[in-house]
Symmetry: C2
Subunit: 211 residues, 2 copies
DNA sequence: CTAACGTTTGTCCATCCGGTCAAAAAATCG
DNA sequence: CGATTTTTTGACCGGATGGACAAACGTTAG
C-alpha cells in the first residue's frame, strides 16, 4: 500500500495530517485544476504552513497523484457492481442511480477527474489503458450477452456506457451551468431526483427489447 | 462589434494577426485551462514574441474573453435551429446530430467551454444566466408543447436537453478517455458514426410516445 | 532526564509569469 | 522621398510560486 523507500511504518500523526491535506487538496484541485492550484492555497485550506505540508508530501504532484489513485478505485465501484446474473434493465437502472448518487455526493472527485481528462490525462493515461479499459471491456461483454439473448435492445455497449458516464457526471461537472439554467434548486424533491427520473425513463424505454 | 475606445478602424494586419492569436490561444486554453495557459505558450504557438502579442491583446484575459464570446454564439446555434414546426423526433434527431458534429469538428471549442464551466464559469456566468437560460427556456417550452400534444413521451424537457449536451460533448471533452477504452479509431466508418447511431436509437426509442 | 526521532516554522531562493517601456523597424501616406 | 503611424523587439520589473533548509520545538522511550 505505501510507497516509501524503506517501508517506514506510518505514524498516527502522519495518517491524520495526510488525510487533512488530501481533503483540502481535493477542494483546491477540483476547482482550479492541477496547474491552477497552488501549494499555498492547499496549505491554507488545510490550516498548516506550506513547509509543513511539504513535509508530508514532497511535491505538489505527489498530492495530486495520491488523490487520483484513491479516486479511481471508488469511482469505478458502481460499474464493478453491474451483475451479469441480475435482470438487465434493473441492473442498468441501478448502475445509473449509483453513478448519479456519486455525482451528487462526490462532485469534487468528479471534477478532479474531469479536469485531468480534459487536459489530456497526462498523469493517469496508463491507468485508463489498463484498469479502466479492462473493466469496461468486461462489462461491455456482459451487456452484449444480454443483447444477444434478446433481453435488452441491441446497440453498442461501449457507447451505452459512455452515455451513462456522460449524463450522470454532467450533474457534477457542469453543475454551475445546470444551476444557471434551472435557477437555485427548486423546491420539492430536488434536482437530482428529477434527473434520476428522467434518465431512468430514457434508458428503460430506450433499451426495452423490441417485440 | 468592436469595443475600442475611439472606434479606430481595424487594420488589415490587425485583423490577420488577431485571428492567428485567437487560433493559437484556442489550442492552448483548451488544453490547459485559463490559469494553466501562459502568454508565452500562446505567443510561441502564434509564432510571435510576447510583447508583440500583447500589442494586439493587452491582457491575457482579453484573449480568453474574445474567444469565449465568439464561441458561445456558434455553440448554441444547433439548439436555435430546433424548429417547433417540424416533426418532433426528426427535429431532436437532427439536433443530436448537429451537436455531435460540432463535438467532432470543434473539439477545442468544446473543451474550452468545459474548462470554463468546470472552474465555476467565473468569466461567463452572466452569459449563462441570460443568453443561455432564455434560449433553453424557450426550447424547453417547445419540447413541452410536443409532449403535451402526445407527439413524444412525457418527461422533463430540461433534463432532456442536458442529457443531449452531456452525451454529445462527451466525445470532445473526454476524447482521451474514449480513445483509451476503444483503442485507436477502429476501421470502418469511425467512432462518431457509431456514437451517432447509438444516440439516435437511444433517444428515438426512449422518447417514442407510448401507446 | 536525556537522547533520538518526529514535527513545525521562518527564511530564503530560483524560476516563472503577466505585463511595461522605450526604442528600432516596417508600413503607409502625402 | 520624407513624415507619420503602425508593428516588432529586447530588456526589464514586481509579484507569485514551487521547493529547499536548518534551526527550533514536541514527543516518546529508555
Amino acid at each position: 500500500m505505501t510507497t516509501m523507500a524503506k517501508a517506514r511504518p506510518r505514524t498516527r500523526i502522519q495518517t491524520q495530517k495526510r488525510g487533512i491535506i488530501l481533503e483540502a487538496a481535493l477542494d483546491v484541485f477540483s476547482t482550479h485544476g492541477f496547474r491552477g492550484a497552488t501549494i499555498d492555497q492547499i496549505a491554507e485550506a488545510a490550516s498548516m504552513s506550506k513547509p509543513n505540508l511539504l513535509y508530508y508530501f514532497r511535491r505538489k504532484e505527489d498530492i495530486h497523484t495520491a488523490l487520483i489513485q484513491r479516486l479511481l478505485d471508488t469511482w469505478l465501484q458502481p460499474l464493478r457492481e453491474l451483475d451479469e446474473i441480475g435482470d438487465p434493465l434493473t441492473e442498468l437502472r441501478g448502475y445509473i442511480r449509483r453513478k448519479l448518487e456519486m455525482a451528487r455526493d462526490y462532485p469534487r472527485e468528479s471534477r478532479l477527474f474531469a479536469n485531468e481528462i480534459l487536459q489530456g490525462a497526462p498523469r493517469i493515461m496508463e491507468l485508463l489503458e489498463t484498469d479502466l479499459k479492462s473493466l469496461v471491456d468486461e462489462k461491455a461483454a456482459v451487456i452484449r450477452a444480454w443483447m444477444k439473448a434478446g433481453r435488452i435492445a441491441k446497440t453498442d455497449p461501449y457507447h451505452l456506457i459512455f452515455s451513462i458516464w456522460a449524463t450522470t457526471q454532467h450533474y457534477a461537472d457542469f453543475d454551475v451551468q445546470v444551476r444557471a439554467v434551472l435557477g437555485p434548486d427548486r423546491g420539492g424533491e430536488g434536482r437530482f431526483e428529477d434527473a434520476a427520473r428522467f434518465l431512468e425513463q430514457l434508458y428503460v424505454e430506450g433499451l426495452r427489447p423490441k417485440g
